[in-house]
């Protein structure tokens, strides 16, 4: 495969984060190749969300390297990382509730829109042209996730399942190379979960994209991911393909338990 010959998209080495005395993430190492879908699983408090927060620059780690597209992004601020092509969703949906669905998605283009404050103030020609382009691109993503008809609704007024999709559209509109999904299926009903799985795998096959997925539902992870890391108390206790994970005795003991016996 040609992808394998190139350097990995993301390489995490020895990432650590302590809160007070607690090691939330302890020596996390991972590799995400291009066009790969990687899952991170583990019980509550295993440090999964912390890993995403470290990757996306929400807070800095205590030590370790995060090499993304050949650059160490550890310690960079969120917006810098976002601009380099790593976007994310949040476990507890963080939409801009006071804004329309369309505007939520447009936000992803703010840093790319090529006009400054002065041009905006004077309402120069380029501004409205750029704005039209942005609107077109944002609409494209809304259509892709099936929300075009809701574009004018306030994001905060949508039902939960649709809010998840808006957040996904917003993250995709950042045109990421690496998309971080933090429990994207949480709170969805079984039918919505199926739709969601179909949506993600559809997007994944269409786009030049890698995904890191954190999820509680084994069903989702097992069906979508190529490679899985299992976290417990901040440490990686196992990794492998879904099949390997299913059989790993350590993993079964620590986490999967009776569910797979």
């Amino acid at each position: 495969m040609p992808e394998m010959e190139r350097a990995p998209l993301l390489e995490v080495k020895g990432l650590c984060k302590r809160f007070g005395g607690v090691h939330a993430v302890d020596d996390f190492n991972a590799v995400v190749n291009r066009n790969h879908l990687v899952g991170i699983i583990g019980p509550n408090g295993a440090g999964k969300t912390t890993i995403l927060n470290l990757l996306s620059g929400v807070y800095p780690g205590n030590s370790g390297q995060i090499v993304f597209q050949g650059q160490d992004v550890a310690g960079k601020r969120s917006h810098q990382i976002g601009r380099q092509g790593m976007t994310r969703t949040f476990q507890n949906i963080r939409l801009f509730g006071d804004m329309s669905v369309l505007d939520n998605v447009k936000i992803a283009y703010s840093w790319q829109a090529k006009y400054g404050m002065l041009q905006a103030m004077l309402g120069l020609r380029g501004v409205s042209q750029t704005e039209r382009e942005v609107e077109g691109r944002a609409l494209h993503w809304l259509e892709r996730v099936g929300l075009a008809e809701h574009r004018a609704d306030m994001a905060g007024s949508l039902p939960y399942g649709l809010q998840r999709r808006v957040e996904l559209a917003r993250a995709l509109a950042g045109e990421p190379k690496l998309l971080l999904l933090d429990e994207p299926a949480a709170g969805l009903n079984p039918a919505e979960v199926q739709e969601f799985i179909a949506l993600v795998s559809g997007l994944f096959s269409e786009l030049d994209l890698s995904i890191i997925l954190i999820e509680h539902r084994m069903e989702v992870v097992m069906r979508l991911c190529h490679w899985i890391y299992v976290q417990d108390f901040g440490r990686t206790i196992g990794q492998g393909t879904p099949e390997q994970i299913r059989r790993d005795p350590v993993v079964i003991k620590a986490y999967l338990g009776e569910e797979f016996e």
């Binding site: 969300t49 995403l52 927060n53 929400v58 807070y59 949040f90 476990q91 963080r94």
Partner: protein, 298 residues
């Protein structure tokens, strides 16, 4: 010969600074208490200070109350007014999970409203408390100490001691402390959040009332007296919002710094210097003297 040695001058200025700091501390701690639980800067605290100062004044003037009952009356009035303010102005914003801006605007508006209530009922000119303490000061080795400031410090010390005790050992106090960590968790613990918030405002109002009467006695009584709350605001931020001890420490520091600046360079430019100090301090130590820095969770 009333000349003073450099030593007694310095001591006198220290006494002045600490006295001023004690005044600010009374304001700052009540201010910080509400911040602890609801995480917003409650300027209506100043309005409560103003109203209770006038209530105490009315009691002393018309009911001829002596010192302690006057203090008690003002303190209680503060608690009641603050509770009413919480109930009328803040409760529904909290229920709707309104953003911080709403709390802020409401609190500033409430300060203005309460001030205006005083203007409507008492006019804009000033009043003075009847003299509740006969002797006004005593002198130790050339250093004069005002009885009223002693009273303030005693009141502050007693109030803080009672507060510390209540927060540690009473059921409501423990709940308030829990709420200051996380209001929603408190709700999960089965404690009635509405009650806790009301209690927090009540306690903070008691402190406002106490400081109101003391300020009214020490100074003159005018509707804007509550604007001294900004000193409490500065002090509590310096001390680290979220910590009561920090607020008290910040207040003391502010009092001493103000006195130092006036001594060294006069009152005129001291706000400018205090501003620069404040910014430097916030940049170097954003968590304040004792505060815990808040970090948003993702």
């Amino acid at each position: 010969m009333e000349g003073t040695s450099t030593f007694s001058f310095v001591v006198q200025q220290m006494v002045n600074g600490i006295s001023l700091g004690a005044v600010y501390a009374l304001i700052a701690v009540g201010f910080a208490l509400v911040f602890n639980v609801l995480k917003f800067s409650n300027f209506s605290h100043g309005g409560v200070i103003g109203i209770s100062a006038y209530v105490g004044f009315l009691g002393a003037l018309h009911l001829h109350l002596p010192l302690l009952p006057t203090l008690l009356l003002g303190t209680l009035a503060g608690g009641v007014v603050a509770s009413v303010v919480e109930f009328l102005a803040f409760r529904s914003i909290r229920k709707k999970r309104g953003q911080l801006v709403y709390f802020f605007v409401t609190s500033v508006t409430m300060l203005m409203l309460l001030e205006q209530v005083l203007v409507i009922f008492f006019g804009a000119s000033f009043f003075t408390y009847p003299q509740l303490i006969r002797t006004t000061s005593f002198t130790v080795g050339g250093v004069s100490i005002s009885i009223l400031y002693i009273l303030m410090m005693v009141c502050a010390a007693v109030a803080f001691a009672v507060l510390a005790w209540a927060l540690r050992y009473t059921k409501v106090g423990i709940a308030i402390r829990a709420a200051s960590n996380d209001l929603t968790t408190t709700n999960l613990m089965g404690v009635n959040v509405d009650f806790i918030v009301l209690a927090t405002f009540f306690v903070s109002g008691l402190l406002a009332g106490l400081s109101g009467v003391l300020l009214g006695m020490a100074y003159t009584l005018y509707p804007q007296i509550g604007q001294l709350v900004v000193k409490g605001f500065i002090a509590s931020v310096l001390g680290g919002l979220g910590s009561l001890t920090g607020a008290a420490m910040g207040a003391l520091a502010l009092g001493i710094v103000e006195v130092f600046l006036i001594t060294v360079m006069g009152a005129g430019l001291s706000p400018a210097v205090i501003f620069v100090l404040m910014v430097v301090f916030l940049l170097v130590r954003p968590q304040g003297f004792a505060g815990v820095s808040f970090k948003e969770k993702a």
